[in-house]
Subunit: 392 residues, 2 copies
């Protein structure tokens, strides 16, 4: 183990903008302890929203709208500025000088992710594209930056996702309890950590949409005035359109065994148009209720069919914006009777900060030459050091 | 100076695909000597052409054709495979195991470059976009890769180009001779190295089109069967259309003082359509002759107006594919009487390998934490370490 990993008190920032594409989450953490059992203390967390015009542009481009090399190039540098500002903001909040940071880990903004190979130029190729130029972050902060975490896993034959499971393993594993970490972001994903697990026993996968479909509907029907269904109140007024739900549940993705990952390509605007916007009869509340049920049911069924047969689970630990959705959580409790469901806050990982914290920790590992993927989770042929390192 | 830089015999590969977008040049070199005066020995050089369909796609996208995030993402990974294969090929050629390489420096394929800020999202933003995913190169070769050399200079307020001048300075400076290194690639650029220069006395800039306009015409009128004007033979049969040349020479770019850089955005397909394809009367030979004269005249005038008043020049050292164009070279000799014009081969830098060699050397510098830009050349606010480092 490198000497520096033993020393306590390395300051790091994690930056991420998720599939909701609304702005940059920044977590400032103090990292300590050995590499195999790191300690993480959250010192500050903040969110820096993108300007609305940028959100619209990103959603359109990630939704497949035609663009140009120039537009993507310019957006990459523009988002670099936003990511840099988010890092500076969270440092200011905690009174920490950015130059004191050991590292900034920036996930960037995914605008395309193709975890399964398709044929291009006569070759089977997977790919992923995150923007938010890390050279700009390094220049503005004066800190070392690690970014572009997904490409190395893809190059090693993996799906490039999910990456948080290693962090879940490092921070949440338990000698006697089997635990499942569930993150409900735009996409929902689980990490399964059997009691006393070794890294290679951990597995995880995307279960399907988290908030993406719900948010997409709310945005659409409020013409962008509302971004999500606050605490699930709108859905609570509607009822599930069962035959629509049944139709969606027949999508092959839900049947596929892990490893599997998904994104806006599958559950973005095309999906909404195909299944939801065409239903003129239904009320908005019914549509949102159905989308909420879709998330709850696909999570619960993934656990029942793909997790419980393979691991004894004592706790479900929930994070991500979807953990604020009371209806969603209460539906999960009903669908998974007997399984204690807790928020990640109880484990020192505030629900909205968990993903940003994860990329601070992954950056720290990369800087020290430690692998950041779990091959069983991503499907990669081996554990690899993730990310690209930039010196300020 | 880091200890390792003193040791002789570091093996490195440099990879680049230039603005002609026809394939990947790979140079395998042995680096030795101190950082301030490195020695470079070329061990092998090869070119790996892209498939034709890929060339067409790249030219279209770099020419501003509409695309999608997905297409750029997939092309990035596909080109990563081509760059990796080019590296493996040049290693095989020399019987060197890729894992023995200290570093691979990959310039990537530029598909957009905007060296001057324009307003986007309410902000002044410059940007550059190189594709050819370096994580793929690292995975396929097992070597450490440094890539994306231009972003850090742009983030420091520079134009991200040209970057070869530092290498020219390191390899070509002379205690008593003022030297100008002229590279005639798609774009032509000069590095001015006064006798006994310190790094901050070196300057350089793009003079305008190199082969880009000539090649574009030849490609167009042969429907892609021919890619360039072999030794300038076609142009030699035509005559200069003087008033067309005069019109082009009025473009503001040529008047602008250095630092300045340009690319396919300015001299690509739009330029050809505007000035050349519309001239139905003229013969193809006349058009190609005029394009050749454009390159010769803009190089010579840049030297007369922007270089000679500021530095005493004893040698012009030419590299790049354009050095094969006999008509172009003889026109330069006529336009610059009294200035000895030599090929870079004389200095151990074969004309077609020089740019690839440069990125091997720049990667080595980055790996050792040494800056790779010349602020006076790029306009950056400071000298910065270039590139992103990936471990295999």
């Amino acid at each position: 183990m490198p000497e520096r990993l033993k020393s306590a008190g390395r300051l790091a920032v994690g930056l991420i903008s998720g599939t909701s594409m609304d702005g940059v989450d920044a977590a400032l953490v103090r990292l300590g302890g050995p590499a195999e059992k790191p300690r993480v203390q959250l010192l500050a967390f903040s969110t820096a929203p993108y300007p609305k015009a940028v959100v619209r542009k990103l959603l359109a481009i990630a939704g497949g709208r035609s663009t140009s090399a120039g537009e993507i190039s310019q957006l990459n540098f523009l988002l670099g500025e936003f990511f840099a500002e988010a890092a500076l903001k969270v440092c200011r909040q905690a009174g920490v000088r950015p130059r004191r940071l050991e590292v900034i880990g920036s996930h960037g903004q995914t605008i395309y992710h193709q975890g399964f190979p398709t044929t291009i130029g006569g070759r089977r190729t997977s790919s992923t594209l995150q923007i938010g130029e890390p050279s700009v972050i390094a220049a503005r902060t004066g800190a070392t930056v690690v970014a572009d975490f997904r490409t190395a896993d893809l190059a090693a034959g993996g799906q490039g996702a999910p990456l948080v499971p290693l962090v879940d393993y490092l921070l949440l594993r338990h000698p006697r309890q089997g635990r499942v970490a569930l993150n409900i972001g735009g996409i929902a994903n689980v990490t399964v950590i059997p009691a006393r697990a070794r890294p290679e026993q951990v597995f995880g996968f995307d279960t399907g949409p988290g908030n993406m479909v719900i948010d997409g509907l709310v945005r659409h029907f409020t013409a962008g005035r509302q971004k999500y269904d606050v605490q699930g109140r709108l859905a609570a007024q509607g009822k599930v359109i069962e035959f629509l739900l049944a139709r969606i549940l027949r999508m092959p993705f839900f049947r596929r065994p892990p490893p599997k990952s998904t994104g806006r390509e599958q559950f973005g605007s095309d999906f909404l148009s195909r299944y939801f916007f065409s239903r003129r009869g239904a009320s908005v509340a019914d549509l949102v209720r159905t989308a909420t049920e879709l998330t709850a049911r696909t999570i619960a069924e993934a656990l029942e069919r793909l997790v419980f047969p393979r691991a004894k689970v004592h706790r479900l630990i929930v994070s991500g914006g979807g953990a604020h959705n009371r209806l969603l959580l209460s539906r999960l409790r009903e669908l998974l009777p007997g399984l204690p469901i807790e928020l990640s806050d109880l484990y020192g990982l505030p629900i909205k900060a968990k993903e940003a914290i994860a990329f601070a920790l992954l950056a720290d590992r990369s800087l020290h030459g430690l692998p950041g993927n779990l091959p069983r989770v991503t499907g990669a042929s081996r554990a690899v050091v993730l990310g690209k390192i930039m010196r300020p």
